[in-house]
Amino acid sequence: MFKNYLKIAWRNLWNNKGYTAINVGGLAMGMAVTLIIGLWIQDELSHNNYFSKKEKIAQVFQSQTFNGNTSTGPAIPRPLEKALRDGYADNFKHLVMSSWNISRYLKYKGKSISQTGNFMQREAPEMLNLKILKGEKDGLRELNSVMLSESVAHALFGAEEPIGKTLQVNNQYDVMVTAVYEDIPFNNSFHDAEFLMSWDKMIATQEWMKNAEDQWGNNSFQMFVEITNNTTMDRVTKAILNVKKNLNEDTAEYNPQIFLFPMKDWYLRGNFENGKQSGGRIKYVWLFGIIGVFVLLLACINFMNLSTARSEKRAKEVGIRKSIGSRRNQLINQFLSESFIVVLFAFVVAIVIVLLCLNGFNDLSKKEISFPWENGIFWLSSLVFIVFTALVSGSYPALYLSSFKPVDVLKGTFKAGKYAGLPRKILVVLQFTVSVAFIIGTIIVMQQINHAKNRPIGYNKEGLIQIPTFSQDFEGKYDLMRSEFLSTNAVIEMSASSSPTTEIWSNRSGFDWEGKPEGFQEDLAWTDVTPEYAKSLGMKIVEGRDFSREFASDSNAVLLNRTAVKYMGIKDPVGKFLRDDNDDGGEPPLKIIGVVEDMITQSPYEPVKQGIYVFDKHGNSSFYNLRLNPNQSASQNIAIIEGVFKEHFPDLPFEYDFVDSEYGAKFASEERIGTLSGIFTALAILISCLGLFGLTSFVAEQRTKEIGVRKVLGATVFNVWGMLSKDFLKLVIISCFIAIPIAYYVMNGWLQDYPYHMLLEWWIFALAVFGAMMVTVITVSFQAIKAANSNPVKSLRTE
């Protein structure tokens, strides 16, 4: 019997190729979108699965409260290590201190490359369970050792045996390669740890780190732990929550809370708001999941609508089958097998579409998703997916078609009743509601990105490059390099700073100033800069003056940004003094010489943080900022700069970043979401239109006789076109009325996540409505005009 169902289904589809193409095409598109989104979600959820002890690993986080604002982050002070090892050791299987992911020059036989990696304690490879390809897992045992990722080992040594070879780090010290580990795959934390070196080595080579050993206020380090099997994250957190507060009085006023942030939450639930975990990327997993379900639903609706619209054609068959003894459930089975075949077929096409699009999608979404050919779970869930889609799309037509009474349809008097079209209309409304809501959502995402992009940033990011100067080689060379660069015609101004233009690397508290409110706990973004900083960046001085090399006293001068003045509550700031409580009193106070325009250093969606720019008298710079000559091309400028650079630092690779592209990267995440939702919206509309197109062709066919009669009575083509379009337009307008409040509600909620956000204006909704109506009219017109142009004699004769 089943074979028979399949045979009939197959012939039916084959004999109605146009209909089948629309059905399979629409479904395939919908399924492809759902599959791609499914793969994307799977990738998001499988983040950090490379680490076999994912469930047991955590990073130690700290929350501190300044003036009632709780900020949470991974930065912890060094003494915390001793405190946890001494008092809570039995909670941890491993406890690993780590640096940030930092850049180092690795040199071997005159070949120098710049790589990022971590300085970690000895147990790191064991905790992360790195796959050792060569050498030993306990590779950080010795002070002067380095473990390399496979790709870096290859880049440095090629075919040569790396183990036992000596590398020079930053032209400063030598380390020996003890192990090569498999590259950590892209969708995992630590995937940019291209080398691991000893934590103790870092301490030994950096004075400030040695000093930090007992500084509870110096939150500059990371700590990772693996908890023992007999405890839980919550239990450990409860135990260590107040460890810092109890041990250190000085920082207790900020109420430091120490807690474990489990590895399984790092990627998807990494946001904290006032000390509480508050979601993160997981919201996009949900968002795209919902989009996927809706797009599939749209495609299923097409299937339902087209099947039932064809009901008059299939009615006869139902009648015959019933009269020769078919039961209703047998007919239901038959129609379901038919939809099963269509869905199966669409699935195959969808797989092809996915294979064709996967590369492009990976580029867009910044992923490295590959098609899971060998994954049994994928195929199993695909099967469930197919059956589910077949049931959803096939059940309504099956129930509807199988309900016909044989005597009605065989007499030839069968006419779908007055309300037979109603469910179909409801489904079309549903489709367009989803589409219109998608359109509105996409416009708002795009607009919000534009809104943030057009925000004044407080400096001129065009034609500005930054060169990292982490290497020891740069020490004391700033003045020389500045005059060298300026003597070329490639650079018109240059400065150095302790953090990149687009980021804040240091926050400080513990200042005193005239009129400081009692108990005020300030938190300032701190940047050490050379005197030309404001000039080279093109920052505007709004009050007072810039640094000047003319005044020797400027070595103790600072600039504040506008927000800082407001934040600190200083009236007439210029000429006032700031005392740094962190000093022992040996340093003179800092003199405020000017106020600069706010400059966006963090998220373009956040308010600018109160910042202080301090004359860099200790040589703390980490970046050179070069303003390029605008009168010649960037590539010419870069070539000249590289020449000068190589002259002075022949061993170092020439690295630089354009500040505008660094700034642009801040939009990457939102832009990806904008692009993806744009694509999915376009597909949703396309699928809806495909269904509408099919539906109009059936309606036009059904009304052939009516159209013929009307034309004989004198209706023009335009009349007929209007008559056919009006019905569908009505449905779309109803959809708009449903979609607008929903979209408004959802998107308003989305915008609230961004403190700097656009206002929802009426034209966005009007545009979406207009767009949807245009699309409808165009789609319907294809068929309507064809029907209106047909010769009435023909259509009336066939009666």
Binding site: N4, I320, K322, S326
Partner: protein
């Protein structure tokens, strides 16, 4: 006695008025009869046939088919009953266009859940009996009207029904084809199948053993 209709009424409400399609029909059909139902258009011939075939309901009266009171049966039982005992032949053949001749014949057996081997042999026998072997793989649209009706009759007969209901079986055929079909019916009747046909043609009516005349839903 094969079936018996007692005081059958069927009506529709149209514009507040009750329009009778069948009015007080009483009819007894014995096994082996060949009845022709005649009457002008709209006199209720097809309706009567559909009522007898249980495809259509009636509003009043009693209907017994092989001692089963049809009027009290549930839809499902009724379907089982006609599936087993009744074969239909239609004026416009009503073959399934997507199926070949052979598959059209097989269809009722599939619905009756006849086993595969038995089905195959029944289909082969029937093809043989109606001289359709050479056309078994053709689709209905590739056949002439007479051939299509032949398939229709063959399909009605394949599950060996006791009763054949034919609604103007020759209405769409030319006179020669029509005559062949009527000859076939006569032959079947002689083999013991009960037949009720609706016809406009006096000539065709003469093939039967009894004629029932209808006018405005009444038996004359």
């Amino acid at each position: 006695m094969l079936l018996q209709l007692n005081n059958i009424f069927k009506w529709v409400n149209s514009g507040g008025q009750r329009v009778f399609l069948l009015k007080d029909i009483n009819l007894t059909v014995e096994e082996g009869e060949f009845i022709s139902v005649m009457g002008p258009s709209g006199s209720g011939k097809s309706t009567l046939l559909n009522v007898i075939g249980m495809l259509d309901n009636f509003d009043e009266g009693k209907y017994c088919f092989m001692d089963e009171p049809v009027h009290t049966l549930k839809e499902k039982h009724r379907a089982n009953l006609y599936k087993q005992y009744i074969g239909f032949v239609f004026q416009s053949y009503h073959l399934l266009d997507d199926l070949t001749v052979q598959e059209n014949l097989e269809m009722p057996l599939l619905y009756k859940k006849v086993r595969n081997s038995e089905r195959k042999s029944l289909v082969a026998d029937t093809l043989d009996r109606f001289n359709l072997v050479g056309k078994k793989d053709l689709f209905p649209t590739q056949l002439s009207g007479g051939q299509q009706q032949l398939v229709g009759v063959a399909r009605a007969l394949i599950s060996s029904p006791k009763l054949i209901l034919a609604d103007e079986p020759t209405g769409n055929l030319n006179s020669k084809q029509g005559e062949e079909i009527m000859e076939l019916f006569k032959q079947l009747n002689e083999d013991g199948v009960t037949i009720i046909q609706v016809t406009h043609s006096e000539k065709n009516a003469t093939f039967g053993s009894r004629i029932i005349n209808l006018l405005d839903g009444r038996k004359l």
